[in-house]
Subunit: 294 residues, 2 copies
Amino acid sequence: MTAPMFERVALIGFGLIGSSLAHVLRRDQSARVIVACARTQATLDTVKRLGLADEFTLDPAVAARGADLVVIAAPHSAYREIAARIESVLAPGAILTDVGSVKGAAVRDLQPHVPPGVHLIPGHPVAGTEYSGPEAGFAEMFAGRWCILTPVPGTDAAALDRITRLWLSAGMKVEVMSADHHDMVLAMTSHLPHLIAYTIVGTATDLGESLKSEIIKFSAGGFRDFTRIASSDPVMWRDVFLSNREAVLEILQRFTEDLTALQRAIRWGEGATLEDRFARTRAIRRSIIEANQA
Amino acid sequence: MTAPMFERVALIGFGLIGSSLAHVLRRDQSARVIVACARTQATLDTVKRLGLADEFTLDPAVAARGADLVVIAAPHSAYREIAARIESVLAPGAILTDVGSVKGAAVRDLQPHVPPGVHLIPGHPVAGTEYSGPEAGFAEMFAGRWCILTPVPGTDAAALDRITRLWLSAGMKVEVMSADHHDMVLAMTSHLPHLIAYTIVGTATDLGESLKSEIIKFSAGGFRDFTRIASSDPVMWRDVFLSNREAVLEILQRFTEDLTALQRAIRWGEGATLEDRFARTRAIRRSIIEANQA
């Protein structure tokens, strides 16, 4: 039997992503020891019951001590505090990574707390479901999806290779890019769609009780797809918008201009404009199907 | 063997809905004769190959002559011309219905052409996929979904009962409401979601070629759900927005206000506002799941 990829993996945060990663580590026996760190004892009890870790602690410093891989899988607003807590216990040669949806702010908040000899390699596995919490995780969630790594300039190649192999073992394809570029691409493909979905479901909710039962009944016409997206974890998404503010506002502005143009076409009965805009969006759907991301 | 529900059914328009209904009629032997009417010979050839009709014509009047059920399943912009063409051949006692997504305009465009003794009962089976055309249809598409009928005041009860039984046989649940009420509910649950989806996919497309391949790669973060909705038939959707203009603009205005409020919260870093808005949308998702419409 070959040695496991990691001796001691500290998973700080045990929601959908953290627990799914634990399933992968367990399945592949990629970690000799998995340490679970969560904000509440209830979460730790659940992780224990699920058999997803070997050690359990509420203290990030206890979890990170002696770990050769530390994965922050908590909402972004917790990053600074976690980083400050683990700073003094991170071992030379250890890899510190995260799984958050915003990477520029991850570098900004974590980097000052990374001691010399520790490798900070922010990461973002672009995968998920609308469910949250440690019981929502499953090993196959990552399969066939992309993981984006945003190493800072000068990152150790061997460390980058180790974290790459971890995500490959989860079935992901791995791409490396700058944190800023990541944040712009994801603002378009993920953050704006979630903001829109939350908004439209909120608009429907505000129509009042008398219409609500009908909206639920007839949701198959398109609305229900938005409700699925809009049932993602509120705290995580609050943090995404606060930490990727610039890119989200930039993409949102473009979206609003485009929507206003369509609104005007509807008001003035400009059918040709509408048909033209609607027809051109089909090509991108075909490309997604061809890229096996549908 | 019991008699079929209808002697002669004219299906005018053979896209996703028309062909799916033909599958239902065939499966249940609910029509002694199915007449297919389409705009092009190519569509008729496809319908013939699929065995979905017994007679074939490019002329709505030929199709409707002697039919006890006439179903208009064409884009809304064709309604007036079709109605004018079939007006003189509609038999007393016949039922004229449609399957369009906008009902106020359907009544407005069809009613003037309905001879005395013919029963106009507009309908909207709220079901579909992102695919179009006669080959996209399948009998099970309607199963478990709602069909909304919007009979005008004074509609013959027996005729309403017959068209109700047709959709029940397709596995649908049937609800009756006014055309105006239908148009407001559907503006929220279907028309606005499609407009938003078309817009966001268009915004992404305009980001240019360099970003496009990355947007396709990382579409799993939410964007791909929008591309599916935005690949629906452009002509049909152009007609929906033109014919349900008032209700769409009203709902769109509310949506824009809500989006602007969230934009402001992002700009000013108001995390509590964001989390509060995001948390309240989960309840409606649970209701949809409980209503078996997920």
